[in-house]
């Protein structure tokens, strides 16, 4: 059993090196992969796709740089889809550190799609208040967002003049990395019957399936895999699709390590019993 004893005492830095190679090599070599689209993501896509032109989509930026590699590709893909459908986009958020990421994404996608600030999209910025904000918007948006992120009154934007409460919002998209999505579902969805789709990190996705099952959300984009599925549906592969080969390799490595670790454990346990 010396081999297993040897494997059990492998320095953790060797494992770190293996993981680094498993992630770096596929990024460099870029092998071709096929992305299979799951039902939750397809539902999210169809919910956006079925909105009539001119509908207002409220995107809540509830993530920050700590989860940007997973959620930012969803934001970019959703913006592309919304702009392609001539939907009006209204961005706001509950996480202060995340709003600049939205500004960066809007400045990347909007010029590509020929969209103009104030006419096709606005960035309302951040306000504290969390659940109070969610309930308060149900009464009047201007109680919290009288101006956009630059202090320009929102009534100076034509499409915003008709947006006062959730009734004027066709779809709410929560891009979240914590419990904020749950709060949107319970407050905006529960109290005001606002249609919601959620894009979230892999850590939160399992907890949100129950809402999908009960119909409280119309779609769910979970993790980098979900983001790559959405990119596939809009036929514009981005950073999520680029990262999936590396994701595959890393998963394969972890499963292999789990198997090796447990085989070694079982063999050493059998030896101990003897």
């Amino acid at each position: 059993m010396k081999l297993w004893e040897l494997l059990a005492s492998v320095d953790r830095r060797i494992l770190y090196l293996l993981l680094s190679l498993a992630v770096a090599l596929p990024l460099i070599l870029k092998p071709k992969i096929t992305v299979r689209v799951s039902d939750p993501v397809r539902s999210a896509f169809e919910t956006v796709d079925q909105l009539p032109a001119g509908s207002v989509v409220m995107i809540s930026i509830d993530f920050d740089p700590s989860s940007a590699p997973e959620v930012n590709p969803m934001l970019v893909a959703l913006l592309r889809h919304a702009f392609r459908k001539d939907l009006k986009v209204m961005v706001m958020g509950h996480l202060a550190l995340g709003l600049p990421l939205a500004e960066i994404a809007l400045n990347q996608v909007a010029p590509e799609m020929g969209k103009v600030y104030g006419k096709d999209y606005v960035n309302l910025g951040y306000r504290p208040g969390y659940t109070a904000l969610m309930v308060g918007i149900g009464r009047e948006l201007r109680d919290y967002f009288n101006t956009d992120y630059k202090g320009v009154p929102i009534d100076s934007f034509e499409f915003m003049r008709r947006v006062h409460t959730y009734r004027d919002v066709g779809l709410l998209v929560s891009l979240a990395h914590g419990a904020v999505a749950d709060a949107w579902i319970q407050f905006a969805g529960g109290r005001y019957n606002q249609p919601i789709i959620v894009g979230c990190t892999g850590v939160n996705a399992p907890n949100l399936y129950q809402y999908l099952h009960s119909g409280q959300i119309k779609g769910l984009i979970g993790g980098l895999q979900g983001a790559s599925e959405y990119e596939t549906l809009i036929q514009k592969p981005g950073s999520a699709t680029l990262g999936m080969p590396a994701q595959s390799a890393a998963h394969g490595l972890i499963i292999l390590l789990l198997i090796i670790g447990n085989v070694g454990y079982l063999l050493s346990r059998r030896k101990a019993k003897k």
């Binding site: 830095r13 770190y16 993981l19 680094s20 992630v23 770096a24 990024l27 460099i28 870029k30 700590s66 989860s67 940007a68 590699p69 997973e70 202060a96 550190l97 910025g125 951040y126 306000r127 504290p128 659940t131 109070a132 309930v135 919290y144 009288n146 101006t147 992120y149 202090g151 749950d182 709060a183 579902i185 319970q186 407050f187 969805g189 529960g190 109290r191 990190t201 892999g202 850590v203 996705a205 399992p206 907890n207 129950q210 099952h213 009960s214 119909g215 409280q216 979970g222 993790g223 980098l224 895999q225 950073s239 680029l242 990262g243 590396a246 994701q247 890393a250 998963h251 972890i254």
Partner: protein
Amino acid sequence: MIARIIGTWVAATLTIGILSFLYKDNPLYKAAEHLYVGTSAGFAIIYSWAFDVYPLLVERFDTNMAAHNHVEAWILLLPAVLGVMLLSRSNLTLPALAALSVLMIVFHHFSLILVVLAVLCILMFVSTLIDPGIDWVSRWSIAFTVGIGAGLTLTATIQGYLLPQISDTLRPLVNVNNIVVFVGVITTLFYFYFSREHRGALGAVSRVGIVFIMVAFGASFGYTVMARISLLIGRFYFLLHDWLPIIR
């Protein structure tokens, strides 16, 4: 262009600094860590001012005063007072907020609420110096926020979570999926009932619950792995594409 190159190198250095912790703790990691805390704390101050105090308090006060809506304007003093009372717990922020208000008056525009805010901050700061025990006034502000939270949560939990979820669980047991969901929810709830020992029928039901819970935790672990690897992919992509153009 130069600024972008310098920014990329700074970002790469900080990324490698944090990753170097995997080898062992070192000065570069410590420096990066302290830089992170300092910039995040500074960020909080900026955001508090730019997206809360200024638009919701100052701008709103000025708008109401301009419209001769004096009651609506001056009533904003109440949350301002609550906010200042809250800061009695961290009294160094009070002179900082007063200084910021004065800066706004000098460099931006004059507003009566800014004067009042500065005076309130100074008064509270002086009070905390005279009697450090006066931070009990923050209890009123905390009580206000806790009361709002409790009131909102109670109704939202029932309407937004319990009723829809229970309703969805009680579907006709005509297919395997509905049966699995029904059994899963009930047995999981039984597992967390600790008022009686898990023996006999309760024990059997709890053991079925454990099966569902373990499947849920395993699935959660699987997704967590994907989440963490995604973050690493993001960083490696930055290093290999934005910093060193190895990925083209």
